[in-house]
Symmetry: C2
Amino acid sequence: MTAAANQSGRRPTTSRRLERAGIRDVAAAAGVSITTVSDALNGKGRLPDETRSRVREVAERLGYRPSAAARTLRTGRSGLIGLTVTTYGEEPFTFTEFAYFAEMARAATSAALGRGYALVVLPASSRHDVWGNIALDGTVVIDPPDQDPLVSELYRSGVPVVSDGKPGNCPVTAWVDNDHEAAVLGILDHLSEAGARRIGLLTGTSTDTYTRLSTEAYLGWCAKVGQEPVYETYPAHDPAAGAVAADRLLARPDRPDAVYGLFDPNGTDLLAAARRYGLRVPDDLLLVCCSESDVYATTEPPITTLSLKPRRIGTTVVNLLIDAIEGVDSGTGVDIARLFPPRFRTAGTGPPPGTLMPTELIVRASSQRRSPRTTVSPPRPPGEV
Amino acid sequence: MTAAANQSGRRPTTSRRLERAGIRDVAAAAGVSITTVSDALNGKGRLPDETRSRVREVAERLGYRPSAAARTLRTGRSGLIGLTVTTYGEEPFTFTEFAYFAEMARAATSAALGRGYALVVLPASSRHDVWGNIALDGTVVIDPPDQDPLVSELYRSGVPVVSDGKPGNCPVTAWVDNDHEAAVLGILDHLSEAGARRIGLLTGTSTDTYTRLSTEAYLGWCAKVGQEPVYETYPAHDPAAGAVAADRLLARPDRPDAVYGLFDPNGTDLLAAARRYGLRVPDDLLLVCCSESDVYATTEPPITTLSLKPRRIGTTVVNLLIDAIEGVDSGTGVDIARLFPPRFRTAGTGPPPGTLMPTELIVRASSQRRSPRTTVSPPRPPGEV
DNA sequence: AGCCCTTGGAGATACGTTTCTCCAAGAGTG
DNA sequence: CACTCTTGGAGAAACGTATCTCCAAGGGCT
């Protein structure tokens, strides 16, 4: 026993007694070797059940907790996944996609935990030293901008990266996105069928995939059906700007008789603007916005929303990422990612695999006209309600 | 050069060349010792600027990134902070406090990153092995239940714990909370001044601090002013139950003429219920709810809300935690937490230090009666709007 | 008896840092 | 000159685990 405890001459019995128990202490207490303890606790090696349970019992008694850092160092696996969120200004997450992000992050957290991983929230704008200081097995990137140096560096250094949102120019292991084009076209058709003659769009100024694809789909649709595009843009991270833009859109001489708002707060903003101009919804104005919030079920009138189903996205993204993490050396036992850095792989396999997920249109009163109108009334100046 | 590279006989030059560069490689390339590289990169030791910059340059050229795991193992610091959220059912976060939690978490993330730490999201219900597998420097616990075994174990094992919400029976390093009693009393007084004769409460069934303190404050106030308490409870994590409870409250024979709802969705739920019963807000019913959402600025009518200022809470919690983490051995260089486990400390120092933070009442139309009424109309059965 | 195979387990090494200790060479100083 | 101090840096010991290699003892078989 003492021989085992004093192996390699370490840890003289005289000094600190209050240290947390390590694997050596367990080995000493159980009268076995370190190897045996490790094997017993991890279910490896060839040990009779008796030894296994005895070791486990001793470990339990000593309150032994394996050191995560040592395990990570040894195995090269930390069980940590980075969750990168785009930032505007000082804040870690975007305001505008907030409900979406929150739902998505929640689902991602669940999925990761279910597979034994935990999520670390890491804004893309973080100080470089923070990123470097964390051992990540992989990273989820939400809506990477066109050329994200962070993503490129991660990918280059061999960390699997899966993005929510089809990446522009950054190489990623895989990506997941909604079918934004189909979603927008579906909404425009829906509004047309409800009698809309001139459909407007409230969109953002940023270059992320969501904004870009949605706007392009709108413009394409306009070109196809021969409608002059009617849209206003604003910096989506600024809620105040959203209200102003909504107002601007309804104040135009070519005021639309239906509007789709790309961002969550647009619904209430447009509703408020409509009230200011004396427009009734849905009689004078059809309304749809993209939102995950159920407040739109109880507004007056309830507003039709497009849900991006963030839960499904979050779950899918995380599962793809973990598959990539574990798939790499689960097959041959060889760490392919290290032997063949990304530049070799991409050349052979072409673009990274992407998954398109459907959206869901929740139709409410705001997009269903009771009696279709044939004329478009001119805008009225803001006045009393 | 080759001599330095082959020190201690490791890493024969014949084998794998594609490994990520380690500190040894940098040392070899720069023709210095490992010690010098470490010192140069970390700004320690006594080195001429020339050596320092040369080493840095070589490290940069080789794309050297220190291994977080090794550093953590050596220093005992991971730079990781756990963010524990209470869970109801399967989901990692609560639904009801969602906006609050989101804001709080965002602020906490910012604050942590600003001080070089990152946040790991860890639902309290996570599998034990996930908790054990992560090296945490400390943990933030949101609204711990009365006897949280997780918190107790963390604290016992020497990990600093700071809670958002005054803890019931779990020992923590420190805690931060709103002054819920003052907040509720302030609201009740506000409603009284607006002419309320019978103030009802919509509250939760769970035992967290927020619900408990708020309800107690309400009951105390009722006792003081001689009003019979009028309240309904529901499981706060179930949005559907909230709508039902709101309905129940307004359907009572002793229907209140003013209601305070403790949870975010209560505002819209109560508004909807009021409409169902033909009650006008604020004429027939004064309304206040606790919420961080700004949708209540644009409801019809706008609803007075109590904000718990989650950003301030999140920032404060994290700063307290990091102070505790860094304060422990910044003074004497001795790790007090290890030499004197919590059970020794608590005996001497009494209850953990707590901080109460003020709330903010955002007064809108729903709690200001235009013409004070003196009679309370009986409830009407649900019918047309 | 000699041989191989299985079982149970011990030893040692490596993971990649940080840091404590120590040393050599000048530089000043009496 | 003999000495101390400072500068610049090297060596080696941890940190705590996982795992590869190897060994001893016994059992069955020819």
